[in-house]
Symmetry: C2
Amino acid sequence: MKITVLGTGIVGQTLAARLDALGHDVRLGTRDPAATLARAEPGPFGTPPVRDWAAAHPRVRLEPFAAAAAHGEVVLNALAGAATLAALDAAGADHLAGKILIDVSNPLDFSRGFPPSLTVCNTDSLGEQVQRRFPAARVVKALNTVNAQLMVDPGQLASGDHTMFVSGDDPEARRAVAGWLREWFGWRDVIELGDITTARGTEMYLALWVRMFGALGTPGFSVRVVR
Amino acid sequence: MKITVLGTGIVGQTLAARLDALGHDVRLGTRDPAATLARAEPGPFGTPPVRDWAAAHPRVRLEPFAAAAAHGEVVLNALAGAATLAALDAAGADHLAGKILIDVSNPLDFSRGFPPSLTVCNTDSLGEQVQRRFPAARVVKALNTVNAQLMVDPGQLASGDHTMFVSGDDPEARRAVAGWLREWFGWRDVIELGDITTARGTEMYLALWVRMFGALGTPGFSVRVVR
């Protein structure tokens, strides 16, 4: 399958590596590939330089947002929340129209340090902002409640016995994403929360996530919904 | 132990009944006991009339907020979020000073219908508002992430294999509450998140809770933090 991952941070690298390993035709979108590949220093949170990652994943081509988005039958937004709307603008509404856009981003605001607050919440969400800005895209919020390693390998924790959520206006798109989460990554318990306004729930859960990270001393945790 | 529960809704009724059954000396606080007992109609969400509950729990005296708060060595706030600050004002800062105040409330805003949004979130929380207003009280946020039945009987779900959170500035008070949650109700996995600002996390989790309620069709669920 032709899959585009937007964003070269740890989330983008991890998603693209896993999808590439599964044999998909993956492109990685960034603002300026030459500039991204020129950086030798680690990214935020110690993310390895993209050029090291790119050397280790020669099948995954790094392209500007628009070219990368044009390639994918499905597009994953793995950008930071603060960079998401501008990057999707650069990707271009025409390259997103009719496609499932899996939005993995969280509207984290680090301007006051750690733990972050959110740039949008309560009566709106980043998922809704993306859907409003790109009405022809089929936006599905997913994977934003765990760290990158758990996104692609839930089985590394509790034998995979924990829960992922999907939100989106298009029930068929939600179901497709739930299926891919199982098929690509091994998520066994996926709850379809409902329309894209339910992304408020998973994005606001980040406020608890960052505090659990603080209390537990590791980002390697998840929640199982018991019912 | 002398315990005060403020609020006669389903949460207050359920907490008071369980603590009474355990043999504690429980008083239930309300604005106007005579008026509360005069109501024959069910409360919000089908809560039984307080007079029926009171008849079934003769040891639990219904008192005005201030008298009830004066009684307890520990006070549980089981009021609706919107009613919390005014009711605690009526209870009186002097009757809360030095005591552990277990704040079970959530700042739910039903003014736009269901699902509710929050009246405060992101960079503040109701727990913090309570602590700022009553600086001599030892406020511990707890139990606000599950419905009333699960608060007092976590074992009814997944053999009790799910998680409760506590937040509060006073580490000794947090630890005491974690101990009571185990002893009174049987909570086996209690995570101390940290100071009262971590109540933002559990209160904002309600945005996910209400959406899960919608998707699962039952309030009888909880989360287990797997790590």
